[in-house]
């Protein structure tokens, strides 16, 4: 860095940003604390909860006894990862073509794709439900994977398109001169260069798919239900339930939080959507 930064201003920055960051993350920390309390302690005044009550893992046990966490977790993983990779397989060629062989209507096609995301899901639930019933896709992981792939595809394509556009065309030309086929051009030249972009795309889509709560709840019953359905039974209280609700919430969001934690750098660098030149 060209400028030297005084320690004092660095401390000040840390204090301000730290405080704000703490406020943002506080709700999550708070439910983490509540999830480790008994139900009676969980509704006491905040200071009492913090300093005047014991710790216990009972709520996690109670939540697990209600419905098997791992089954839902497994479904969430399959559906979110599956839909993302399936989506990539279709989106990479499409984004490549739009980025390197732009036609007159490329931009329109892109915008049209994005506009399909504006379809309000509630408006088309009944038709989709009927189609799923007739094709036997109700309550199947395959069905959900397909739906999530489709609803996230426009975002995938758009993100990839913006990354690909930043790759200088000369490199591809050079590869082509060397006799690379289209397939090997995509596979060996383009993809490695686009890895950071693809990685960010994958991350964002796993997050979006993991958290999608409308289709996943409405098209599943028991077999394919992911974590969004797992949490649905806690949306109205039965007796004292803060500790159990907190435990269930932590269980539902922990995997994606951990993933986010490790890929933080990737996300901070990668989410450009073509906004950076």
């Amino acid at each position: 860095m060209a400028r030297s930064v005084s320690t004092r201003s660095k401390v000040l920055n840390t204090a301000v940003a730290g405080t704000l960051g703490f406020l943002m993350v506080f709700p999550i920390l708070w439910i983490l604390i509540l999830s480790l309390k008994t139900e009676e302690d969980a509704i006491r005044a905040p200071l009492e909860v913090l300093f005047n009550s014991g710790w216990t893992f009972d709520s996690y046990g109670a939540v697990q006894a209600r419905s098997d966490y791992f089954k839902h977790f497994f479904n969430s993983v399959i559906i979110s990862v599956g839909s993302t990779f399936l989506g990539l397989m279709i989106a990479i060629p499409a984004a490549w073509a739009m980025a390197f062989v732009p036609g007159k209507r490329t931009k329109d096609v892109l915008m049209w794709m994005l506009s399909t995301k504006m379809l309000p899901p509630v408006g088309v639930l009944v038709p989709i439900y009927l189609i799923f019933r007739d094709t036997g896709l109700l309550d199947s992981r395959l069905g959900l994977t397909l739906v999530l792939m489709l609803i996230n595809m426009p975002i995938i394509i758009w993100m990839l398109y913006t990354y690909f556009r930043e790759i200088p065309g000369e490199i591809l030309e050079a590869a082509r001169m060397d006799g690379a086929s289209l397939r090997s051009e995509i596979l060996y030249v383009l993809t490695p260069m686009a890895v950071p972009g693809i990685a960010s795309t994958v991350l964002l889509n796993i997050i979006l798919a993991w958290n999608e709560a409308f289709w996943t709840l409405n098209l599943t019953a028991a077999k394919a239900a992911p974590l969004t359905a797992f949490i649905a039974s806690y949306s109205s209280p039965e007796g004292l339930f803060y500790a159990k609700l907190s435990a269930a919430s932590i269980m539902a969001i922990a995997p994606i939080l951990i993933l986010g934690w490790f890929s933080q750098k990737q996300l901070v660098r990668g989410l450009t959507f073509g906004a950076v030149k």
Partner: protein, 440 residues
């Protein structure tokens, strides 16, 4: 041994494994996250062990459950083999041919269908066919805190009080500085939430949903009196944030000792009086829900019951589970494992006569009598063309009930006047009834 023979034998062997596999089935049950259903879920592994079948539970919150099950059964989706449904859905769905008739339960002497209260069976039947079997039934009555009544110097009413008297009680009991609210009532919008209480309140004030010609009556003076009373009661003596409180929220508040009175489902009594779940188990007692202009329809009628969609391909296994889950033995099992105070009420005569229940839950008799005093066929002061106390047993009611519920909750939140809320409600009800062709 010839090759053919080997093949034949292995085929039969294969056939046998398939057959024995088919007899152990996997069924899917859509259930609601109420206490008694969670107990059933905890006990169900015993049935699984007994029969070798397995159960997938889909546990949902009441509103979501209703939406998911209706959507699935109406589209013949077949996602569920057993559903928890209520007294509103059972006859309507049964009439639509969506549910498997359970008449053959009457042939099973061990099951003893006659032991289930006639009134409840009637509520779950349509055209003489039984479509669901009850886990529990309920009416509404007043929960009150004996300790707080004593402290405030109020004698608990022995006769059915009026709502005017009830408000006076709430006023004396209200002590928000010490975290005690005079009364907790449902404020969360929905035909099964605030409108259940408001419906009985309106009945007490002499109101009715429709006149004999299906003309909506929401603009009447009776409705106005009832809702004005409701808003005054709740804003003066209710807890803050009442518009977010439904049955479960109020139950939590009451168990936590924050409410002095609560008019709600009798089925909550065993939970409130269960020291394992409630802080106020020893200091809670009950009296009838108040009356006002009339004592007709002042307590509602509801039951939660198990039904099998016609789309289920595993009806026999499902029936087996239904019999197990509503048998005499099941209720005894709950009594033995969870304590007799936790036994669901309002289902079987023999259980209500069981000395172990009467000892652990002396209030069970009160509940039974309260349920028997309800007459869904004659719910209001003035004549009406419908049955149902807190609901109107027609398919259109859900939409109307939800809308009116929203309007009432907006009035409660102070976002509009009672007059405005009822004018909107009347307009909406007229629209819906016109749309459905009841009126021109």
């Amino acid at each position: 041994m010839s090759l053919k023979k080997v093949l034949m034998m292995s085929m039969t062997g294969f056939g046998l494994t398939v057959a024995s596999f088919a007899s152990a089935e996997e069924i899917t049950i859509a259930t609601v996250n109420n206490n008694d259903m969670i107990v059933m879920q905890e006990l169900a592994p015993r049935w699984e062990k007994l029969t070798g079948n397995t159960i997938n539970w889909v546990v949902l919150e009441e509103n979501v459950l209703r939406q998911r099950t209706t959507q699935d059964i109406a589209t013949n989706g077949g996602s569920f083999d057993i559903m928890f449904i209520g007294a509103y859905e059972a006859p309507i769905w049964g009439k639509n041919g969506w549910l498997t008739s359970l008449n053959d339960f009457g042939d099973d002497a061990d099951y003893d269908l006659e032991d289930i209260f006639q009134l409840v069976r009637n509520g779950l039947s349509a055209d003489g066919n039984l479509y669901a079997v009850p886990l529990y039934s309920e009416t509404s009555f007043t929960f009150y805190r004996t300790d707080l009544f004593e402290k405030a110097g109020i004698a608990a009413p022995t006769e059915q009080p009026t709502y005017t008297e009830f408000m006076e009680m709430a006023a004396k009991l209200h002590d928000p500085e010490n975290g005690i609210y005079g009364t907790c009532q449902r404020g969360k919008a929905g035909w099964g939430e605030n409108m259940a209480f408001v419906g009985t309140l309106a009945n007490a004030f002499g109101a009715r949903w429709f006149d004999e010609n299906w003309q909506p009556q929401l603009g009447s003076a009776e409705w106005n009196n009832a809702i004005t009373y409701y808003v005054e009661l709740m804003t003066k003596y209710g807890p803050p944030g009442a518009t977010a409180n439904g049955h479960n929220e109020n139950r939590a508040l009451f168990k936590d000792g924050k409410c002095a009175t609560w008019i709600d489902a009798t089925s909550a009594a065993n939970d409130i009086r269960n020291p394992a779940n409630s802080k106020v188990a020893d200091v809670t007692d009950f009296f009838q829900a108040p009356k006002q202009e009339t004592d007709k329809g002042t307590g509602w009628f509801w039951s939660w019951a198990l039904a099998i969609p016609a789309s289920s391909t595993k009806a026999d296994t499902a029936k087996d589970f239904l019999k197990w889950a509503t048998s005499k033995e099941y209720f005894q099992m709950v009594g033995e494992t969870k304590g007799w105070v936790a036994v669901p009420s309002g289902t079987r005569a023999s259980i209500h006569e069981d000395p172990r229940l009467l000892e652990a839950a002396p209030f069970a008799e009160t509940i039974k009598n309260a349920i028997f005093s309800v007459d869904p066929a004659d719910p209001t002061r003035d004549p009406v063309p419908y049955t149902g106390v807190q609901f109107v047993a027609i398919p259109e009611f859900q939409g109307i009930g939800n809308y009116v519920g929203q309007q009432v909750s907006a009035a409660l939140a102070g976002q509009q006047t009672v007059e405005q809320a009822l004018a909107n409600s009347q307009q909406f009800a007229v629209r819906e009834m016109t749309k459905a062709g009841y009126i021109k």
